[in-house]
Assembly symmetry: C2
Homo-oligomer: 122 residues x 2
DNA sequence: CGGACTGCATAACGCTGTTAGGTATATAAC
DNA sequence: GTTATATACCTAACAGCGTTATGCAGTCCG
């Protein structure tokens, strides 16, 4: 994208690698930002990744609703005097624990991937 | 699985995180093993990951064919005097270059994930 | 008044891995 | 001899995901 890539197969596999981390990125963003909303999450991840991860809103909003349904997040609407209504999200206590577990899994996967791909630990 | 996990949501997100790396794991296995075949790839990855990554054959064989169609891999059958016929795969020259690129992308994603999740580099 | 940015939502689509089968040989256990 | 396990490959049906495309709507700038 920013580098002159144009290999469709490479881009496809890149998307696949990234997409598995979206849910974790979003939860982490909510943890970092405190009470926050979809659009801000997208911007936060984009900025944090140096512009390398650009989530679509059609990716983020369903994930937020999905987590809300499962009590990982909770949400509420605000009606500001000026501007559009916003739907805010924050981690529930269960969600906080869940994010910790998921983060451990991520670390574990990282070490497994390093073993397979970079020959560490053997 | 081996640890007493039984949180379906956690398992689902774990699967998603892992699945994005399958193609890369398989290509890396072919690079490491030289001429090799599906069953051996599954065992190699399982052993290399300390039993944490167990690919299904129904996952691996379609991926091998997919890469073969795109000239990343090439394949040939062997008819041993004893045992079952095997379909061997190896990297093509293009495939070798492609794997290098993909490996760079993986390293890049890893660093981006660390920036977002572990607060490195900021 | 038009464009860019903000802010949320849903439907249709394509692509993946999973699940669940099928076929087949070799070997060890009972 | 028959069952179980390991080896070795394949395909079809399904569920789930992100992408694409589209809609609505307020704010701000030129």
């Amino acid at each position: 994208m920013q580098s002159g890539e144009s290999n469709p197969l490479r881009e496809k596999l890149n998307r696949e690698m990234r997409s598995g981390l979206y849910a974790l990125f979003i939860l982490k963003a909510v943890e970092e930002l405190g009470d926050t909303y979809g659009y801000e999450i997208v911007k936060y991840i984009e900025e944090r990744s140096g512009g390398r991860i650009k989530l679509r809103d059609a990716t983020v909003y369903p994930i937020l609703r999905y987590f809300t349904k499962r009590r990982v997040l909770e949400s509420y609407w605000t009606e500001p005097d000026v501007g559009l209504p916003r739907k805010y999200y924050r981690l529930t206590p269960d969600g906080r624990r869940f994010l910790k577990e998921l983060f451990e899994d991520y670390r574990d996967l990282k070490s497994v991937a390093e073993r397979i791909l970079e020959g560490d630990g053997r």
